[in-house]
């Protein structure tokens, strides 16, 4: 599969001729199919979903549900276990909030030091209930030290929630091992898969985790949609997250019964146009094939690492030899924000900061870093361009 012509399917690169976009880990650009699907729905088929029986509404509802089916197939999930939320952050908040209601003082949660704030802050809220949080450490390479998990588990450990692929180092957590350790002790596992979907193979039946969260906007889909895979056992056991229309079965002045299934967690009008257009994003990725995306992004990462490591003053965050679609670095003597301003002058979009991973940055003893992340539209010329920009940066900051 040749990805060379893929870039032409992204209108952003026509409106911004010289744009070099290395911020897909933050949010992916949108292919024309997704943009067209949004427009088509609003122009030709718009109605709210699930509320009315007239034709337009029925069709909208069917299209919406067909995205659910597409997502289910894409990540090999199971029928009735895919919930739509606002974003990955909300998916994780939903799990932490609803699961938290089942917890009591002294119970323990295990996370990793590589977590994005969205898989830490929602759990932190539970400290109010005197729930304790433990962290699987990361080593100096940035790897999650899964061999330390067993010693953290006690009979009070109630859930393990971990990142699949780091949005800073690109390192992949050994989920199979974590899940098998957890299973032996009957501890549920929640996974933040935000950086994994559309960049690596995600097979939920094979993983057999309890929860798996990701965002539409990072997999070439529209903003405003998150996905939460949740095992039926929890769908039944959890109290609702939000209350309102769509999540009830029967309401009177004294009692309310809730809808069963995923509807229980989908209160209010949803981002229907975006969900419907998300189907086209998944179709786009499936047509290219995940395995081709992986080899494309890995070859770009190898090339970038080879070229960037030639600069003697570059320091990588973690061990970049485990290459994927993301890695981060710093130019010694130049703060990441200053470097990013220099890159921006050359129309190169690179994110500078702590990337919502302060624990990881503190552990690595750095305040911020420059993150490069790849998507289907990147190519080797993009990497040559950033190398020129790094040279320019060194010149401005008078580095040898």
């Amino acid at each position: 599969m040749n990805l060379k012509d893929i870039k032409s399917q992204f209108p952003i690169f026509k409106s911004n001729k010289n744009l070099i976009y290395f911020d897909t880990a933050n949010s992916a650009q949108k292919p024309i199919q997704v943009i067209d699907a949004l427009e088509d729905f609003y122009k030709n088929h718009y109605a709210n979903i699930g509320r009315a029986v007239y034709g337009l509404a029925a069709r909208a509802t069917a299209d919406f549900e067909s995205t659910r089916e597409t997502i289910k197939e894409f990540v090999n999930g199971t029928e009735g276990e895919i919930i739509f939320t606002k974003n990955s952050t909300e998916s994780l908040n939903l799990v932490a909030h609803c699961f938290g209601k089942l917890l009591k003082e002294g119970d323990e949660i295990i996370l990793t030091e590589a977590e994005h704030h969205s898989n830490y802050v929602p759990w932190h809220f539970l400290r109010k209930k005197k729930v304790n949080i433990k962290f699987i450490p990361i080593n100096e390479d940035g790897e999650v030290e899964v061999n330390k998990l067993t010693s953290l588990i006690t009979n009070k450990t109630k859930i393990i929630s971990v990142i699949h692929i780091s949005n800073v180092t690109g390192l992949t957590t050994d989920l199979k091992k974590i899940i098998s350790i957890a299973k032996a002790k009957k501890i549920p596992v929640c996974i933040d898969g935000t950086q994994a979907v559309a960049h690596s193979h995600v097979d939920l039946k094979d993983l057999d985790c309890d929860f798996y969260a990701f965002s539409s906007h990072k997999i070439y889909g529209p903003t405003g949609v998150g996905i939460l895979y949740m095992k039926n056992k929890w769908i039944e056991q959890f109290e609702p997250f939000n209350g309102g229309g769509g999540m009830i079965q029967n309401v009177d002045t004294k009692n309310i019964t809730y809808a069963s299934g995923v509807s229980k967690f989908e209160a209010g009008s949803l981002a229907s146009a975006e969900v419907i257009a998300l189907k086209q994003a998944v179709k786009f990725v499936k047509d290219i094939k995940v395995k081709n995306i992986i080899s494309h992004e890995q070859s770009l990462a190898s090339y970038a690492l080879e070229k960037i490591s030639k600069f003697n003053d570059v320091e990588f965050v973690g061990r970049p030899s485990n290459k994927g679609s993301v890695f981060s670095f710093n130019i010694k003597g130049v703060h990441a924000h200053d470097a990013s301003t220099v890159f921006d002058e050359d129309n190169i979009a690179v994110r500078a900061g702590h990337h919502c991973c302060q624990i990881l940055h503190k552990k690595m003893k750095i305040g911020s870093s420059l993150r490069m992340s790849f998507g289907v539209y990147n190519n080797k010329q993009d990497i040559d361009a950033i190398c020129e920009s790094i040279k320019k940066c060194k010149k401005i900051f008078k580095l040898k």
Binding site: H335, H337, D338, T341, V342, G353, S368, I396, F397
Partner: protein, 156 residues
Amino acid sequence: MDLTELYQDLILDHGKKPRNFGKCNKFNHDAEGHNPLCGDNIHVYLSLDTDKKVKDISFEGSGCAISVASSSIMTEIVKGKTEKQARELLNAFFKMIKEGQEIKKAGLSEDEHIKFSSLAGVGRFPMRVKCATLSWHTLKAALDDEKKPINSEIID
């Protein structure tokens, strides 16, 4: 605008070798400032004497070249000024960065004026304005005896 104008020698020098860095002796006012988005943080210490003159001023913290240079230059300029002059200067700084207003020379030596104006170019990089203003907001917080850390992301 050329990047070398933003990152001129004076700014690079102060960014690399900040002056008045650390806790100054016998400070009687201090405040903290943060920019949670970029992770910059700064602590400004100052010692005001009985006739409201800035006897000493210093800062600690970490950040990009622009934020460190702006802090360093601020401490050099404010040292020895009265509280009233310090407040006028910080207002003039915000005007210069945000509205591109030239600062009047009044009250500043030639050298101080050059240092102060060296940061004017930041105004043309909207994403970097907060880097330059953080230390000045924190100075204001120190003068006001503001106990809560200030957040430049919200102010600017």
